[in-house]
């Protein structure tokens, strides 16, 4: 399947993932156009990370499919993965590679030319220039996060998946990271952000997907989520979030 002019950058159709008897994600569908920032929120165990990992092709869905630029991440994996980047909540860079070597490794793996100017620009953007020759094992948590993001941005992915992107970053780095994410979206990249920081999601995302125990509870723009959940345009996302998830909990309780 090829990307048509009107096809979404990312399409998730009936995605389900089970681990033995446990269902982590159950029949979740949504799609994202180019340049959209979609926030994924939900309580712990809602299936946010599993959803992102399935989209990234790290986990094989039990059923359903994920299309990136029209390519199935499982059955047409290589073209799909070339357009993807996934930044986990706790990056684990290779201990024996330096910061620059991580960029070099990524460039080789994505069959790109080693562009020193591009490396320098990314190191500069993420304030890693002074650490360029240091081994990843010596970096702080925040620095590792920055390194993972710099490496993920190297091949100019059209779909970028962030799992708790601001964990471990200081306030200055958080501001820089928000700007960086926004610039990629403005340039046409589709961004998915899974986060517990509702303030971040509210401030940055065009739409929000609310997950609860693997199910999709709500999907829509900030305004529509606020309207449908809290019944008021001026309600915060936090109020809407609690209204939606507590409704779901009550329903679960009644069903039990």
């Amino acid at each position: 399947m090829n990307e048509g002019p009107s096809s979404p950058a990312l399409a998730v159709e009936g995605l389900a993932k089970r681990f033995g008897d446990f269902t982590a994600v159950d029949n979740v569908s949504f799609d994202c156009p180019r340049g959209e920032i979609l926030g994924i929120v939900g309580p712990n165990g809602a299936g946010k990370t599993t959803t992102l990992r399935c989209i990234a092709g790290i986990l094989k869905p039990t059923s359903g499919r994920v299309l990136v630029g029209g390519h199935d991440v499982i059955f047409d994996a290589l073209p799909a993965k070339r357009q993807l980047a996934f930044i986990p909540d706790t990056p684990h860079p290779f201990d024996m590679l330096t910061v620059t070597e991580h960029l070099r490794f990524t460039a080789l793996a994505y069959e790109m030319k080693a562009d020193e100017a591009r490396f320098d620009a990314l190191l500069d953007e993420f304030e890693l220039t002074a650490k360029r020759d240091e081994l990843a094992s010596t970096l702080s948590r925040g620095m590792r996060q920055k390194l993972a993001i710099a490496a993920a941005f190297l091949h100019d992915p059209s779909v970028i998946l962030f799992d708790e992107p601001l964990t471990g970053l200081d306030p200055k780095a958080i501001r820089m990271m928000r700007g960086s994410i926004q610039r990629r979206a403005d340039a046409g990249a589709t961004i998915l952000i899974s986060s517990h920081l509702l303030d971040l999601v509210e401030r940055m995302c065009d739409r929000v997907l609310v997950l609860h125990e693997g199910h999709r509870l709500a999907l829509g723009t900030m305004a529509s989520i606020r309207e449908s959940a809290a019944g008021a345009h001026d309600a915060s996302l936090e109020e809407a979030f609690f209204a939606i998830t507590e409704d779901a909990l009550t329903e679960d309780h009644d069903a039990a």
């Binding site: 986990l59 980047a85 201990d95 590679l97 330096t98 080789l108 793996a109 020759d133």
Partner: protein
């Protein structure tokens, strides 16, 4: 009996010296990692913290006593239970002395401490070399170094320095009861006295122990991951050519990792050399066959290289998101952990040709067999790593299952070889055919491994 007593004193004395040296090296008391968060902030008195610190050491001391008794032949002592008691008390004293050395190091100025460290490092190297010479001398029957060491330990100065070790052995071996009672009394006094000294030294060990504990557990974690200390001054310029593009990038990653892990490779080389030295002491075909068997099977199994599939779960997952074909990714991951042991095997084979009269034609046929067997071994190990990436503990069942599967995977090649042998085919040709069969097995395993790497649920702990 006299000889065995000498060996026991040597080992206990060696442990005593190593304990003191490690205390100096740590410059703080090592606790559990969780103790830093839960125990250190709690309102617990210094002496209670010290008792808590020594508890596992006392258990280890008792365990060591049992080990001496049952494994090292202590049961042949005239009084085995007293010997167990003696070794336990001696090891308790050693733990106290180690803590004392750590406390005294904390009190030293940094500059003086650095000088002391140079001396202790040199001592550790010397002791390790002496230990190796003793082992080789013991196995090959040329025990000059062993007897030299024993004579040294019998000198009056050594008897005073290693007093607890001498008394522990006396407790288990002396023919007269009063002398045994005296030995017991001395040992108990040594244990109590050394503990009192640790208590009496008013060194605030908490801050130093915080750093020492963190450092020690990081070292354990690094060892578990096969990462050794390395200094990098400049990033690598990266490889040239299209070979290292795509899956080749993983090859470069592993090659670079190995280049920075020279200590591990040198360790492997050392083991090969020691084993060759041991086996070359034996004359005849059986010695040569044993060497070959060791080099062929043990080296690929033993090498704890932090490359290939031996990666943390998260890094394996990160590799999955790269746009690389599963088979190529698996092949690139396996290449270096197969190649490095193979180079060691090739070196060992070369040595055997020079010193052991190994037939050159046979050696040339054996080399591809080494590579094929190594690939099978590492591939099967990789299946197990994928099931439990970087486990925190060793699972005996997994290890046994892995070893059995590795042996089963050698069966097709062995059966082919046996068939050809019955047909009186020349030995080099038999080995070559067996190598081809083994290579086919390795290739099939590689294909399955690639698919497993991409689709298995590695993510779920």
């Amino acid at each position: 009996m006299e000889e065995r007593i000498g060996v026991f004193v040597s080992i206990l004395a060696f442990l005593m010296v190593m304990g003191v040296l490690s205390g100096i090296g740590q410059r703080g008391l090592v606790f559990l990692a969780a103790d830093l968060d839960f125990l250190f902030p709690a309102p617990i008195a210094r002496r209670h913290l010290l008792v808590y610190h020594f508890m596992p050491h006392y258990l280890a001391a008792a365990f060591m006593g049992l080990l001496y008794l049952l494994v090292l032949g202590g049961r042949f002592m005239p009084h085995p239970l007293l010997f167990l008691l003696g070794v336990t008390l001696c090891q308790m004293t050693n733990a106290h002395l180690s803590a004392l050395a750590a406390e005294l190091s904390m009190a030293l100025a940094d500059r003086l401490y650095r000088r002391l460290r140079h001396v202790t490092t040199a001592l550790v190297v010397l002791l390790t070399l002496a230990g190796m010479l003793v082992v080789i001398g013991g196995i090959s029957g040329t025990g000059n170094v062993t007897s030299l060491l024993r004579e040294g330990l019998e000198s009056p100065v050594a008897q005073v320095i290693f007093f607890p070790a001498v008394q522990a052995v006396k407790l288990g071996a002396h023919p007269h009861e009063p002398a045994r009672w005296a030995a017991f009394g001395s040992l108990a006094l040594c244990a109590l006295g050394s503990f009192s000294l640790v208590l009496a030294l008013r060194v605030d060990f908490v801050e130093a122990s915080f750093g020492a504990t963190k450092k020690a557990w990081k070292k354990v974690d690094d060892m578990r991951r096969g990462v050794s200390k390395t200094n990098v001054k400049r990033s690598s310029a990266g490889p040239r050519g299209t070979f290292f593009q795509g899956a080749g990038a993983v090859l470069w990653l592993n090659a670079l990792t190995m280049r920075r892990q020279l200590r591990t490779i040198l360790g492997g080389l050392l083991v090969v050399m020691v084993m060759l030295a041991v086996f070359s002491g034996q004359r005849g075909d059986s010695g040569l066959a044993a060497t070959l068997l060791f080099v062929l099977v043990m080296v690929p199994l033993w090498m704890p290289l932090p490359v290939g599939f031996r990666l943390p779960r998260e890094q394996l997952l990160e590799l999955r998101q790269l746009p690389l074909a599963p088979g190529r990714l698996a092949a690139a991951l396996l290449a270096v952990p197969v190649l490095v042991p193979f180079l060691l095997q090739a070196l060992a084979t070369l040595i055997l040709i020079v010193i052991g009269d190994l037939d050159v034609a046979l050696a040339l046929a054996v080399l591809p067999a080494f590579a094929a067997v190594g690939a099978t071994m590492v591939a099967i190990e990789s299946f197990f790593v994928l099931r439990r990436p970087h486990p925190n503990s060793i699972n005996l069942l997994h290890s046994v299952a892995q070893l059995l599967l590795q042996l089963v995977a050698l069966a097709p090649a062995l059966i082919s070889a046996a068939g050809l042998k019955l047909m009186d085919v020349p030995l080099p040709l038999i080995v070559l055919v067996a190598a081809l069969v083994q290579a086919a097995v390795s290739y099939a395993l590689l294909r399955v491994l690639g698919r497993r790497l991409q689709t298995g649920d590695v993510a779920v702990a």
